[in-house]
Amino acid sequence: MPLRRLDVLLSLTRADLNARYGRGPWQLGKWLLDPFALVGVYLLLVTFVLGRAGEAPGLSLACAIVPFQLLMMTIVNSMTAVSARRSIILNMSFERILIPVSAVLTEAVAFGASLTLVVLLMAVYGVAPTAAIVWLPVVLLATLTFAAGCAYPATLFGLWFPDMRVIAVSLVRTLFFLAPGLVSLSQIEGRAGDLVRLNPLTGLFESYRAVLLYGHRPAAWQLLYPVGIGALFLVAALPIYRREQAQFAKAME
């Protein structure tokens, strides 16, 4: 990546981090609040309401919630990425192709901070890291690739259909429940167990559980399938995005 492009990308990301999460020590608190709260609520649901706690339920939930938060927040951020930058888009010429990447990077910083939740829960449940932990960077990379693949179509969707953003967020949230988010894949039996594998989130969630909870390397499909879907989104959306980016300012008038 040329240095100029990197400077623009880092500046957009830095500005986005400050605009979305504020400054100072509270910034970390905002990053952690959502995943901590979600794990707490779902833990109560799984343990007391559904009675399907399984093995180390808090950690198992965190293995799904932490990567899902990255995806969710990337999509939310991407859908408003153009309108939130309206003033600079109408005032300056710069590479608009970097906008979705900066949305991913912004949320990746928050994602990095929320990994502390996983570490904390491993300590709480007494789950020691195994040699499978070396796969964690690959799993993280697969998560980021999938998020980046979703960021470009999400940006276009948010620009084209601003009134539909809320529905899109609900649909993405539904994907969490159509994947082994609350319970692990091994707890889903029969045809449902086969069908949830079609959801790219299934592979991601299970790969985190494999590396952090079960202590073995993730199955190939768990990483390749979401990466493939992400790449497919990217290949489909990027040419349209390239064409549309020159028109962003007109749509912001």
Binding site: V8, I89, N91, F248, K250
Partner: protein, 246 residues
């Protein structure tokens, strides 16, 4: 320095949905009831090094659209446009600032988007703070700024990018007299060193101070081109005939 602007039969088109919201061409292709209008049409002119040009005309004449095209923000849908030289632009009343960021954070972002490296932007922060005269307000969110303060900050950042082509759209009208003198001084420096200044607005005495030449725009086309005072006289004469008051 070899700044130059050449426009030949320039056209910029907008699409609107049935609620008159602007949409992109791709979305326009997907929707049934879409209308289009040309913000600029068959616009041809040249601006050479050392020229300062005012864009005058009624609201909706195409002044802002032309400035945004010159800044590379709007891509021409017809004709050809060539702008040579490093461009700095202040094209909206918010001066391109993001309201949730502080003055300092906006300075760092806009300086990089304006062409500086991150290291150069960091080095420019102190100069921008001093030049803008914002003092402690520099570290407050821009949402608390007045229009004049935003314009000061936007202008001070633009200045740091050492523009060869300076584009101003009404923003300078939000400035106080003290800062207007700074804008005039900078504009003269740019023009004196072979650069170009293009300014649009309705404050004609200020435009007269900045520009020796004017383009009168009407309906997205050039209606007159010449010395500022002559073009302004033609504009007023037309407005009087049309029963409009400026």
């Amino acid at each position: 320095m070899n700044a130059a602007i050449d426009a030949y039969e320039l056209g910029v088109r907008f699409y609107f949905d049935r609620q008159r919201r602007p949409v992109t061409p791709a979305l326009a292709g997907l929707r049934r009831r879409v209308s289009e209008s040309w913000g600029l049409r068959d616009l041809s002119f040249s601006i050479g090094p050392g020229e300062s040009v005012a864009l005058i005309g009624p609201s909706g004449a195409g002044k802002t659209t032309l400035l945004r095209s010159l800044a590379g923000i709007f891509v021409p849908d017809a004709g050809r446009l060539e702008v040579r030289g490093r461009v700095a632009s202040l094209l909206s009343i918010d001066a391109g600032l993001l309201p949730r960021l502080t003055g300092r954070e906006n300075c760092l972002l806009l300086a990089v988007l304006g062409g500086l490296s991150r290291a150069e932007a960091r080095a420019a922060v102190a100069r921008v703070k001093e030049r803008s005269g914002l003092a402690e307000a520099f570290d407050r969110p821009v949402s608390s700024f007045s229009q004049g303060m935003s314009a000061r900050l936007g202008y001070a950042v633009a200045e740091q990018t050492r523009p060869q082509v300076l584009l101003l759209d009404e923003v300078h009208e939000a400035l106080d007299h003290e800062f207007r003198a700074i804008v005039e001084e900078t504009a003269q420096k740019i023009v004196g060193s072979g650069g170009i200044v293009v300014a649009a607005g309705h404050d004609h005495p200020l435009l007269e101070q900045l520009c020796g030449r004017a383009l009168l725009l009407r309906g997205g086309k050039v209606a007159a081109d010449g010395a500022f005072l002559d073009v302004r006289a033609a504009y007023f004469a037309e407005a009087e005939m049309d029963g409009r008051a400026e």
